[in-house]
Amino acid sequence: MNKSGLIPSYRLDMTGEPCPYPAVATLEAMPHLSHGEILEVVTDCPQSINSIPLDARNHGYEVLDIQQDGPTIRYLIRR
């Protein structure tokens, strides 16, 4: 699961926040990155598994990795 060599430049910690806020905040954060930079989104909202990856792709970003540690899910998304 662990993809070495992917170093995120920014982290968005959405722990504790319910839907739709993690997905909305992710989409709002992405334009602040430079092209090629990676955002790490950390959330414990299980529903985000159906929202963040799809939303990121739909809005033109690349989902590099999804990792899960029990309740915590981490997404790596490249602008």
Binding site: C19, Y21, E40, Q47, I49, N50, D55, P71, R74
Partner: protein
């Protein structure tokens, strides 16, 4: 395939939503055929409110609404009751298997306010319309009741306003984009995961054994409990969320869940149709203003709350405290509706016709019309999705063309 592989692929990982919703559609048709009733939860939540009122010394069993939905027995002797207990057991087992139970506390007071207020509005609206999304989508529409279409369209509209409202600055907590130079280390606590998995298996197998033993003395109750268990597994593992199906069309343009639910209704409708042709009685409700008003309130409320009557169930057992408040709100809202039902029912509901599409257009005509309307809904979603991303793309070009 080793047991470890099986566990990882089928019990721990999230399930894809589309097959899970299709499975729920098929199961809900069988559920109707076997138990003679439908997959629905809010009616039973209202009865819980009724029981609480009885404990407080009131006599809700004499109120019109409780005579309508019946307040006899206890959750353990009612089909809806054991089905819901099964759903909770299924949700809890699924969440424990994946080590996905964690006490998640709201970050701010405003979340509790919106959870409770949204829950009350949604609970009231759902019962005003005689049932929430489950009753409307997995029973109403596939059961050919016109009221469910009124409810569905109104819910879509209500969710639009709910989405606008929920993104107002007052509900937005400040989020900080932290500059970092390495990823957050994630370490699975293997021992905890193993313990939780075993606990999940214990809940699952115990409930299953109880339900199977029930099915010999009371077949319908036992089977309803087993169906509940399956529904619970499906909604938690695939994170099936009716709220997001509507809301995210408006907020992020995502349509996956909405499309899945329409397809789920499509597989359910033909199954229900076959049972009705064999003589089972469909549940047809008043196609009155109550379905429209209820749908508007329900759509608004579920988005404000962040989850509907089904959504809060699995989120609550996952330890999301926010959704405990939604659940409490739902029961309060449903009970409030029962309190004022006798005053408003003639105006908004009981004086209107119960329209059965199969009776109005004939069995084949009604079936055809239902599928036609489902296809049109699917088409409308495709159209909206295209439009959403087209306007987004043009907004983006406009902003990049501006001089920095």
């Amino acid at each position: 395939m080793t047991w470890q592989d099986f566990k990882t692929h089928y019990l721990v990982r999230f399930w894809a939503p589309l097959p899970a919703v299709l499975a729920a559609g098929v199961l809900s048709a069988y559920y109707f055929g076997i138990t003679g009733t439908f997959w629905a939860v809010t009616g039973e939540f209202t009865r819980w409110g009724g029981h609480l009122l009885q404990l407080a010394g009131y006599h809700p069993e004499t109120w019109g609404y409780f005579q309508l939905i019946h307040l006899e027995g206890t959750p353990l002797t009612r089909i809806d009751g054991v089905m819901i207990i099964g759903m909770f057991a299924g949700c809890l087992s699924a969440a424990l298997w994946a080590n996905n139970v964690k006490l998640r506390l709201p970050r701010h007071r405003i979340r509790i306010v919106q959870a409770l207020a949204g829950g009350i509005i949604a609970g009231f609206g759902a019962r005003l319309a005689m049932g929430c999304n489950l009753a409307a989508f997995f029973t109403g529409i596939p059961q050919f009741s016109l009221h469910a279409w009124f409810f569905a369209l109104a819910t879509a509209a209500g969710s639009y306003f709910g989405a606008r409202f929920t993104l107002l600055p007052i509900f937005r907590l400040p989020v900080k984009l932290q500059k970092i130079d390495q990823a957050l280390p994630l370490q699975q606590d293997a021992d905890q995961a193993r313990r939780r998995f075993r606990l999940g298996m214990l809940v699952f197998l115990t409930f299953m054994a109880w339900a199977v033993s029930q099915s010999f003395s009371a077949p319908k109750l036992g089977l309803a409990a087993l169906f509940g268990l399956a529904f619970g597994l499906l909604i938690e593992r695939a994170q099936i969320c009716f709220t997001s199906a509507f809301r995210d069309l408006w907020i992020t343009g995502r349509s996956q869940m909405a499309k899945a639910i329409i397809l789920g209704m499509a597989v359910s409708a033909i199954g229900i149709y076959s049972y009705i042709q064999l003589g089972a009685a469909p549940k047809i409700m008043w196609a009155g203003p109550n379905a429209v008003l209820g749908g508007l309130m329900f759509g608004f409320g579920i988005v404000l709350a962040g989850g509907c009557e089904t959504g809060w169930m699995y989120r609550a057992v996952e330890g999301q405290v926010h959704f405990w408040w939604v659940g409490i709100g739902n029961i309060i809202g449903a009970t409030l509706l029962a309190v004022c039902w006798d005053d408003i029912a003639p105006v908004v509901a009981t004086n209107f016709d119960k329209v059965n599409l199969l009776a109005v257009f004939g069995p084949q005509g009604g079936l055809l019309l239902t599928y036609l309307m489902l296809a049109m809904s699917f088409g409308a979603i495709l159209w909206w999705e295209r439009r959403f991303f087209a306007s987004q793309a043009s907004a983006q070009t406009a902003s990049t063309e501006k001089p920095a």
